[in-house]
Assembly symmetry: C2
Homo-oligomer: 427 residues x 2
């Protein structure tokens, strides 16, 4: 009986677990510090109040309930003892025969971790609800105040980072201001909000072709989003962003400017790349440790490529499945294979009915691309229940521009504890 430990219940870990589920002579323990698998590509829709957290997140143990050889533990892994072949978590230590590390990345603030408080990133449900609270909260604050300077600051949204996430967030805020909230206020006009997408490099969406990126920029402009390229951020505080000598006053700043790997790789002393990702062999194992595999955003795979594979869901999914199949092959006495990525292309969406898609030489945009995007995302949503409700919710909001989850939920749950209305923090 071989014990496989999987760290992380994202696309890679979950898909590996499914392949290993109910297989003879295999026992699996999956550790994650959240109880849910998160459909990350739609997380920005939770932040933008279009979907509820439960619509894109499913308890990992429910997904795996029917595989009797899999145990799911909610726990946080803090280290790996390579010699003892032991995973050390906060609440337990477990020995493995095979280890799959798939605990992903977090936001990188390039040495300015103090910026995170003012400019949250978007990787977890908690961060998404925090962003929702902030975005909806500033409209409430702007409606309450009669001070023009504060109103302007509250109605300025800065998104740092011009990759797909930044573009999606900026487009969604543009839509909220133009359509969703248009009629709801008396003292302010949400259509006059300023939305500024800041990119340090020379253009947005650098991983896409120039022509598609230009078209995305035009679509953003139509939603009222200003794009500023070649503008590295030099400072962030609670009231705005510094771009060299220029200052942008803004109550809401969102961070979509870069990621770095989970610290686990560095803590293990194995080879990592510039972003902290673990460098892997052609079979996704670690050099000199054939019993340890790495998959998803945490892996730096560059065999036969000029740059490592990007941190996309299809990469993670294919790698998770591949590793699980290699483990099965090896326990059955067969030789391992080497990983080959089947390119699924890349896409980004801009608002309610526009998207761009690039797959090799195939490029398209507009409503058709958006429909392809919708179909792909619904197809991959992991459980049927969620797929069903998310589809309904989308169809619904497509036709009426509403957002069903416009809730400002305070962090404080107590009544006696000095709760304050959300967003009063800098009043």
């Amino acid at each position: 009986m071989k014990h496989v430990i999987i760290v992380g219940g994202g696309f890679a870990g979950l898909n590996a677990a499914k392949i290993l589920g109910n297989k003879k002579d295999i026992r699996v323990t999956l550790l994650d510090n959240h109880n849910h698998h998160l459909f990350q590509p739609l997380l920005y829709q939770v932040a933008m109040a279009a979907l509820s957290p439960a619509e894109i997140a499913v308890p990992i143990r429910r997904i795996l309930a029917d595989y009797r050889n899999i145990t799911v533990l909610q726990d946080e892994v803090t280290g790996v003892d390579l010699l003892q072949r032991t995973v050390i978590a906060r609440e337990c230590s477990l020995q493995y025969d095979y280890l799959l590390l798939a605990c992903g990345v977090k936001h990188a603030y390039f040495g300015h971790e103090e910026w995170e408080e003012y400019a949250p990133g978007l990787k977890t449900i908690e961060q998404a609800t925090e962003i929702r609270r902030r975005v909806l909260g500033v409209f409430e604050e702007a409606e309450r105040t009669s001070d023009c300077g504060r109103q302007l600051r509250h109605l300025t949204f800065v998104i740092v980072g011009g990759g797909p996430t930044g573009v999606e967030l900026a487009g969604a805020i543009g839509e909220i201001c133009r359509y969703t909230l248009a009629k709801d206020f008396r003292n302010i006009n949400p259509r006059q909000a300023r939305i500024i997408l800041i990119e340090a490099g020379p253009r947005i969406l650098p991983s896409f072709s120039v022509s598609l990126a230009d078209e995305a920029a035009r679509d953003l402009a139509a939603l009222g989003v200003q794009v500023r390229t070649s503008s590295p951020v030099t400072g962030i505080d609670s009231q705005g962003v510094q771009l060299g000598l220029e200052r942008l006053e803004a109550s809401t700043i969102l961070w979509a400017a870069g990621v770095e790997a989970s610290p686990i790789g560095r803590s293990m002393g194995v080879e990592t790349d510039r972003l902290g990702r673990i460098v892997v062999e052609a079979d996704l194992s670690i050099s000199k440790h054939p019993e340890i595999f790495v998959a998803g955003d945490l892996a730096s795979f560059s065999h036969g490529r000029t740059t490592p594979l990007p941190g996309l869901a299809p990469v993670a999914l294919q790698q998770g499945r591949f590793i699980a199949r290699n483990i099965l092959r090896e326990t059955a006495g067969q030789a391992r294979r080497t990983f080959r990525y089947l390119d699924k292309g890349q896409l980004a969406t801009i608002g309610r009915s526009k998207a761009i898609i690039e797959l090799g030489r195939l490029r398209f945009r507009g409503l058709l691309a958006w429909l392809v995007w919708v179909v792909i995302h619904i197809y991959y949503l992991i459980s049927f229940e969620n797929r069903f409700f998310v589809t309904l919710h989308w169809v619904w909001s497509f036709f009426n521009f509403r957002r069903g989850a416009r809730l400002i939920i305070n962090k404080e749950w107590r009544f006696y504890g000095k709760k304050t209305a959300a967003g009063n923090k800098d009043a």
Copy 2:
């Protein structure tokens, strides 16, 4: 132009606002410290992971968006200046011609406010998500630990208070343990969880007839809930409940044992009853202040009754509408009327397909009562969108025993900030 200020966007405040919306010579400001109206009767379903917050909560300003004479402000009212006819909130002060106070009640811990931390009540979305986090979290903890004593404590749920809310919570936890989670764990058996409903008085559901309450107790027993009557709680801490000399070890304690009015009545120096509710005249105004009305849970109305009207949604709804109509009547030069409550009966639900209903001499229970309960609640859910999705969600979970919102969402949203897995607090 008369300015009507409404404090509170619950059933009373919102229904008053709708009557006053788009009426000539009336201007309305509605203040609430949340941005959403909450369909309180279904709040326990959010706590029990069956519904998402957004399915029972709708932004107040969206509901009222089409009434151009209504301004909605998210702000917390701290006092009323009776002489200056001014409402004082954290961010603004506003003068009124008419004032409607409808800011409800909060949980009362009978002088033991320190118990709240260990035994949260259920009045807000924040509290509901906290309860969900705790209930789901202890199963994760029990699965992780191999210490039998801790496992037993983690799998013991104590609900304090045998009114409708306590009965609904206990029944829902019974169902989660028996059906929803039954297959999901490897080290624990959720069916063996202990669920204890504690009531200080001689029987549960004291507002219902003895025969219905007895039948509810039998339904609870069938779901594995132990009922303990005549058991006043004398102490609560993070690991259990003290009942006189007896000690119950439990990681999860929920409070459904009593409410007291918002402190606004006492702060104004007007007549209040034992629970802090404002004593009102037959037209729901305050003695000597015909320009101030009180509605809903905050009002103590006992004209022609032996006890004040109970804190039920139909009471609040009827009072809110009545007050708005009286204001319209008076501004049109007509005389005020006096309030009469049209009794809608009372109901409570026990688990997935059982309920009890009592309306005068009409009493029924079981599946039929539950279907009536479902229809009534869906009918009253305030916006069509929510009604639609909640219905679907219910139908869905009725047939597969699933709970669509089993998410443990941490309070901390930061990545660098030392987040811990939910529920590690007493590890």
